[in-house]
C-alpha cells in the first residue's frame, strides 16, 4: 500500500510539473503570447470574451504568481479555454471527442505489441540459437528503426490504397452513427487494423529484446536447473518458472514506454486522419491553436500518468516483494 501511495504522490508531482511547464513555456518564449492570442481572435470574439479568455490563460497585468493561481484555478475547474481551430468549441470538448479514439487505438496496439513481443522473446530465448532467435530480433529491430508514421504511410499505401483491403482514413464509416451496434463496432475495428498494425510492427522489437535478454539471464539461475532436475515438463518450467520472473522488468518498462509509444501513435493518427489526440495536435499545429496544443499536452500527460499508476497496481499483484 505504501508503495502505491508513494507512486501516486510521484504522479501528482509529475502532473504538477507538467502544468507548471505549460504555464511557463508561453511566458518564457520570445514574443508576447497575449497579443498573439489577441491577434488570432480579433474579430472572432467579443472583447469581453477575449478578456475572459486571457484570464483563463492568466495573461493579465497581474504579477506572475497571481497569474499562476488564476491559471491553476481555471484548470481545476476544467477550463482550458477556447480552441482556435475548432472555434467556438471549448478545448475540453474538442479533446474529449478525440481522447476515446486515442485510448482505443494506442491502448489496443500497445497491449497487442507487448503480449506478442514478450511471447516471441520468450520463445526466442527458450530455443536459443534457433531460427526464431536468429531471425526475429534483427528483423524487428530493423522494422522498429523506421519512424512510426513512415511505417503507417507504407501500410496505408500498400494495403489500403493499392490493395484496397482496408479503409485509409477516419475511425469508422461515415454513414454509421456511433453506438454499441455490430456494424459500427466492426467498422471501427476494420478502420483500426492498419494504424494498429503499424504501431505494433514499430514497437514490437523492444519488448521482444527485453524479454529475450532477461530470459537468458534467468535461464541460468539455479532454480531453473532445479526445476528441470525435478523432471517438470518443459512448458511448466518455461511458463511458471522462467517467464513469470522474466516478465517483471518488462512490465516496469511497459509503464515507461507508454509515453513513447503514445507519441508514436499520435503521428500514426495523423497519417490515417484518425480522429484522436494526434490528429487534433496536427490541426492545432497547423492553425497555431496554442490553447488546444497545451490542453492536449496536459490531457496526454495525465493519461500516461494514469496508465502508469495502473501498471504499478498490476505490479503489486504480480510481485510480492512490493507488498511488504
Amino acid at each position: 500500500m505504501r508503495f502505491l501511495l508513494r507512486r501516486l504522490g510521484f504522479y501528482l508531482l509529475a502532473a504538477w510539473v507538467s502544468l507548471t511547464l505549460n504555464f511557463l513555456i508561453p511566458r518564457l518564449a520570445p514574443g508576447d503570447p497575449a497579443s498573439a492570442l489577441q491577434a488570432r481572435f480579433q474579430g472572432r470574439l467579443e472583447p469581453s470574451a477575449l478578456a475572459a479568455m486571457k484570464k483563463v490563460f492568466g495573461y493579465t497585468d497581474a504579477p506572475l504568481y497571481v497569474q499562476y493561481f488564476d491559471y491553476v484555478k481555471s484548470l481545476l475547474h476544467g477550463d482550458f479555454g477556447i480552441s482556435v481551430a475548432y472555434f467556438p468549441a471549448r478545448v475540453t470538448e474538442v479533446i474529449g471527442s478525440g481522447l476515446m479514439w486515442t485510448l482505443f487505438l494506442a491502448g489496443t496496439s500497445v497491449v497487442i505489441s507487448f503480449v506478442l513481443g514478450s511471447a516471441l522473446g520468450l520463445l526466442a530465448a527458450w530455443r536459443r540459437g534457433g531460427w526464431l532467435d536468429s531471425v526475429a530480433p534483427p528483423a524487428f529491430i530493423f522494422l522498429g528503426a523506421f519512424p512510426y508514421f513512415w511505417m503507417a504511410m507504407l501500410l496505408l499505401f500498400s494495403l489500403g490504397f493499392v490493395g484496397g483491403w482496408f479503409p485509409v482514413r477516419h475511425a469508422y464509416a461515415d454513414q454509421l452513427t456511433m453506438g454499441w451496434n455490430w456494424p459500427f463496432v466492426l467498422s471501427a475495428i476494420h478502420h483500426a487494423v492498419l494504424p494498429a498494425t503499424s504501431i505494433v510492427i514499430a514497437s514490437l522489437g523492444g519488448w521482444l529484446l527485453g524479454m529475450r535478454n532477461t530470459m537468458i539471464g534467468i535461464l541460468a539461475e539455479d532454480y531453473i536447473t532445479m526445476a528441470q532436475a525435478k523432471g517438470l515438463s518443459p512448458s511448466r518450467v518455461m511458463l511458471h518458472y522462467a517467464a513469470r520472473n522474466a516478465l517483471l522488468p518488462n512490465i516496469t518498462g511497459f509503464g515507461m514506454a507508454l509515453g513513447f509509444v503514445l507519441s508514436g501513435s499520435l503521428l500514426t493518427e495523423i497519417v490515417f486522419s484518425y480522429p484522436g489526440q494526434g490528429f487534433l495536435l496536427f490541426q492545432a499545429v497547423k492553425s497555431q491553436d496554442f490553447p488546444l496544443m497545451q490542453g492536449l499536452f496536459l490531457s496526454i500527460t495525465v493519461a500516461v500518468l494514469a496508465a502508469n499508476w495502473l501498471v504499478d497496481v498490476a505490479y503489486v499483484f504480480l510481485d510480492p516483494r512490493t507488498r511488504r
Binding site: 510539473v17 522498429g144 504511410m153 499505401f157
Partner: protein
C-alpha cells in the same frame, strides 16, 4: 581502450559502423556532388528515371538531391543533440549517484518526472512557441531527451562509487568534481557510448517526427521536411511513392546501424548475450547438447570465430576472468548435458 577494440571485433558493430561510415561520407561530401535540392528542375512528380534517379517532387525538385542534402542537416543535428544529451545526462547522473543526499533526491525526482512525461506533446508545445530553426529544434530535443541517460548513468555511478579506486581517490584528497569527471566518467565508457547511441537514435527520430508535423523550418531541406512536403502534397494519393520511400529507408538504416552498435556493446558487457552459435558448435564436437544456461566463456582468439572450427582440435574453453563484473557469472563453467 580494450572496449573499443572489442567493439571493432564484433561483427554486428562492424556492420553498423560501416553503414554509419557510409552515411557520414554521404553527409560530408554528398551535397556537393548532387544538384541543388531546392531548385525546380524537372517535371512535377516524375517517377525515377536515369535523369532523376529517385524521381521528382510535386515542385519538380530532385528527390535524390533532397535525400542527400537531408542526410547532412538531419544527421548533424542528430549527432550534436546526441552528444549534448549524453553530456547533460552523464553530468546529472554522476552528480546524483556520487553526491547522494538531497542532491540525489532532487535530481532523481527531476529525472523521473521528465522520463514519464510524454515527449512528443511537450516537444510540440515547446517547438510551437519557439521560432522554427535548428537551434530551437536542438533545444527541444535536448530538453525532452536527457532524462533516460541520467537515470542509467546514476545507477551505474551508484555501483561504481563503492569500488576501491573511488574510495582511494577520496582518501587521497581529490576534489569531488575531479573524481566525478576524471575517475568515474572514464570508467563508464561502454554505458556512456551506449547512452550516446540511444540519444542519437531518439534525436533523429524525434526530429523527423516534429518536422513531419511542420514544426521545423520547412524552408530547409531535411529528412523530416522532405516527408512533411510529401505528406502535405498528398503524394501517396497520386501513388508517388518515390517522394516518401527514400527518406524513410535512410532514417531506418541509420537507426538500425546505431542499434546494431548498441547490441554489440550489450554483448561485450554481458557475455551471456553473445551469440550461442560458437558455443553450440563446440558442444557438438564434444557430442553434447546445450542446457538452458549460456555460460560465460571465451574461445581462444581466432579459433572458432574464423569458422574453421570443425577442422581444428576443440578449442580450449576458458571462463573469462576480469571482464565480467559479477563473480558468479564468471566462475560458472560450461553446463552441457552430456
Amino acid at each position: 581502450m580494450s572496449f573499443f577494440r572489442d567493439l571493432l571485433q564484433n561483427r554486428k558493430a562492424t556492420f553498423g559502423l560501416l553503414i554509419l561510415g557510409a552515411f557520414a561520407l554521404i553527409a560530408l561530401v554528398g551535397p556537393w556532388l548532387v544538384r541543388d535540392p531546392a531548385e525546380f528542375l524537372g517535371d512535377p512528380l516524375a517517377p525515377p528515371s536515369t535523369e532523376f534517379w529517385l524521381g521528382t517532387t510535386r515542385q519538380g525538385q530532385d528527390v535524390f538531391a533532397q535525400t542527400i542534402a537531408g542526410a547532412r542537416t538531419s544527421l548533424v543535428l542528430g549527432f550534436v543533440v546526441g552528444l549534448v544529451v549524453t553530456f547533460i545526462g552523464a553530468t546529472i547522473g554522476i552528480a546524483a549517484g556520487f553526491l547522494g543526499g538531497w542532491v540525489d533526491d532532487l535530481l532523481s525526482l527531476l529525472t523521473n518526472v521528465f522520463l514519464i512525461m510524454p515527449g512528443l506533446p511537450l516537444a510540440v508545445v515547446l517547438a510551437a512557441y519557439l521560432e522554427a530553426g535548428p537551434a530551437s529544434m536542438a533545444f527541444v530535443l535536448i530538453l525532452t531527451g536527457w532524462a533516460w541517460n541520467a537515470r542509467v548513468i546514476r545507477a551505474q555511478t551508484l555501483s561504481l562509487a563503492q569500488k576501491d579506486f573511488v574510495k582511494a581517490a577520496l582518501v587521497g584528497g581529490e576534489s569531488r568534481l575531479r573524481i566525478m569527471f576524471f575517475e568515474l566518467f572514464p570508467n563508464m565508457t561502454s554505458i556512456i557510448v551506449s547512452g550516446f547511441i540511444g540519444a542519437t537514435v531518439y534525436a533523429i527520430g524525434a526530429q523527423v517526427g516534429l518536422e513531419f508535423l511542420g514544426l521545423g523550418d520547412v524552408s530547409q531541406v531535411t529528412w523530416g521536411t522532405n516527408l512533411y512536403w510529401a505528406s502535405n502534397n498528398q503524394d501517396l494519393l497520386t501513388e508517388s511513392w518515390w517522394t516518401i520511400a527514400p527518406t524513410g529507408i535512410c532514417v531506418a538504416l541509420v537507426g538500425f546501424a546505431l542499434v546494431l552498435v548498441n547490441f554489440a556493446i550489450d554483448e561485450i558487457t554481458n557475455p551471456r548475450l553473445r551469440s550461442a552459435g560458437a558455443f553450440n558448435r563446440i558442444l557438438a564436437q564434444a557430442g553434447a547438447t546445450a542446457g538452458f544456461s549460456t555460460p560465460v566463456l571465451r574461445t581462444q582468439p581466432g579459433s572458432v570465430s574464423s569458422a574453421k572450427a570443425d577442422t581444428q582440435v576443440p578449442p580450449v574453453l576458458r571462463t573469462q576472468p576480469g571482464s565480467v563484473s559479477s563473480a558468479k557469472a564468471g566462475s560458472r563453467g560450461p553446463e552441457g548435458e552430456a
